[in-house]
Amino acid sequence: MADTIKFEVVTPDQLILSEDVDYVGVPGIQGQFGVLSNHIPFLSALAVGSLYYRKDGQVKYLFVSGGFAEVSPDSLTILAESAEKAEDIDLTRAQKAKERAEERVQREKDRIEFAQAQVALRRAIERINLKEKAG
C-alpha cells in the first residue's frame, strides 16, 4: 500500500480539495489528531479550527468549521459545513465578522443568541489566526 492517503475536503457548496497527501493534522472535537496512511477506521466530529496537511515536504493550512472526519486506512474525508484554504480567507471580512460577533456577545442576554454569537466569534478568530500564521 502506498504511504500517501487520499485526502478530500467537501462542503455543501463544493469540493474544496482532493489530493494525495502524506500527513493530515485534524482538529477533532476532543483535540487535535494526526492521520497517516494505514490509520484504523475512525470517525470523529470536528471542532472549529485549522487543519493542516503535508505533501512533498510542504505544509498547507485550511480553515474548517463543523462537520466530520472519516478516516479509513487509505483515505481521509472531511465533511465540513464550511471550509476554506488559507490563501482564500478574506482577512478584512473575518475581522469585520469578529467585531460584529464581539458586539453581539456583549449585547445578547438571550442564551441561544449568546451561544450563536460566541460560535461566530470563534470562527472569526480562528480564521484570522490561521491567515496570520499561513496566509
Binding site: V10, P12, Q30, F33, P41, F42, S44, F68, E70, L79
Partner: protein, 291 residues
C-alpha cells in the same frame, strides 16, 4: 369582420408578448444552468453523507437517539412544503401544493393534526388559504439561498420535533428528473429511518472507532442529515422551477407564433377584401358613366 387597424394592433401586441416570453425563457435557462451546477457541487457532499449514514446505521439501534425513535402515537404531523416564489412556470407549483394537500388530507383522515412549514411565496399563500395551521413561513428566499437557509429550516423542525410539537415531519419538494420532467415528491424526514436512505448497502462496512462516542457522533450527524435533505430539497425545487418555467415559456412563445400566423392570415384577408370592394366601386362607377 374586425377592421384592418384592429388586426394590426393585435398582431403588434402578440409580438410584444412573444418577446417577453422569449426573454423569460432565456433567463430561466440561464438560471437552470446555475441551479444544476449547484446540485453538481453539492452531490459529492451528499453522497459522502449518505454513505456515512449507511455505515452508521448498520451498527445502531433505533433507540440510540431521539431523532431516530419512532413515536408510538402520532398525533401531529409537520409538512414542509417547498415551492417557488414566482409564478409563470406552468403547473409546477400547483402540482406541489396538490401533493402536499393530498398528504395533509390523508393524515387528517387518520385523525392527526397537520401543521405547515411553507418555503416560497406560493407555498405560503396556499398554506394560508388551507384549513391547516401555518407555523412558519419563509418568502422570497428561493433566489440565491445557501446552506445556511437549510440550517435555519432544519433547526426549526428539529426543535419542534424534540419538543414534541410534531411527531412526524414530511418534506414535499419538486424532484428534478430532467429538463422536461419534474415530479413532486414526499419524503419523510423525521423520525430519521436510516434504512430508507439511498446509501448503497455495502457488505462488511468497516467497523469504525468513534470520537467522542457513538451517541456524540449521532447527535452531530443526525441534525445535519436533516439539513442535508432539506438543502437537497431546496436545490432540486429551484432547478425544477426554472426547468418548468423554461418549458412553460417555450410553449407560450410557440402559441404566440401560432397566433401571429393566424392573425396575419386574417389581416391579409381583410386587406384583400378591402381592395376588392374598392375595385368594385370603381368598376361599378365606370360602368354607370358609360351608361
Amino acid at each position: 369582420m374586425p377592421s384592418l387597424k384592429d388586426v394590426q394592433n393585435k398582431i403588434a401586441s402578440v409580438k410584444k408578448t412573444k418577446q417577453i416570453t422569449k426573454a423569460m425563457n432565456m433567463v430561466a435557462s440561464a438560471k437552470l444552468r446555475k441551479a444544476q451546477m449547484k446540485i453538481e457541487r453539492f452531490r459529492p457532499y451528499a453522497e459522502k453523507y449518505y454513505e456515512l449514514m449507511g455505515d452508521m446505521a448498520a451498527g445502531v439501534e433505533t433507540g440510540a437517539h431521539p431523532l431516530l425513535a419512532k413515536r408510538e402515537s402520532i398525533r401531529n404531523i409537520g409538512i414542509m412544503l417547498i415551492t417557488s416564489d414566482r409564478g409563470l412556470c406552468g403547473a409546477f407549483n400547483t402540482n406541489l401544493i396538490n401533493k402536499a394537500m393530498h398528504l395533509a388530507a390523508a393524515k387528517k383522515a387518520l385523525g392527526q393534526k397537520v401543521v405547515f412549514y411553507a418555503v416560497g411565496k406560493k407555498a405560503v399563500n396556499a398554506a394560508r388559504k388551507s384549513p391547516y395551521e401555518l407555523v412558519k413561513s419563509y418568502r422570497d428566499c428561493m433566489d440565491g439561498f445557501d446552506f445556511s437557509l437549510a440550517g435555519e429550516l432544519g433547526n426549526e423542525v428539529i426543535r419542534a420535533y424534540l419538543e414534541e410539537e410534531v411527531d412526524e415531519v414530511h418534506l414535499v419538494f419538486g424532484r428534478f428528473i430532467n429538463v422536461g420532467k419534474q415530479e413532486p415528491e414526499d419524503l419523510k424526514m423525521l423520525p430519521v429511518s436510516p434504512d430508507e436512505t439511498e446509501a448503497p448497502a455495502e457488505g462488511g462496512s468497516a467497523q469504525y472507532m468513534y470520537e467522542p462516542s457513538v451517541d456524540g457522533i449521532l447527535s452531530e450527524l443526525l441534525p445535519r442529515f436533516i439539513k442535508v435533505q432539506i438543502y437537497r430539497g431546496l436545490l432540486e425545487t429551484s432547478a425544477s422551477e426554472h426547468a418548468a418555467r423554461m418549458s412553460a415559456m417555450d410553449n407560450a412563445s410557440n402559441n404566440c407564433d401560432e397566433m401571429i400566423t393566424n392573425l396575419t392570415l386574417a389581416y391579409n384577408k381583410a386587406r384583400q377584401a378591402a381592395i376588392t370592394a374598392e375595385l368594385l366601386d370603381i368598376v361599378g362607377g365606370a360602368e354607370a358613366l358609360k351608361g
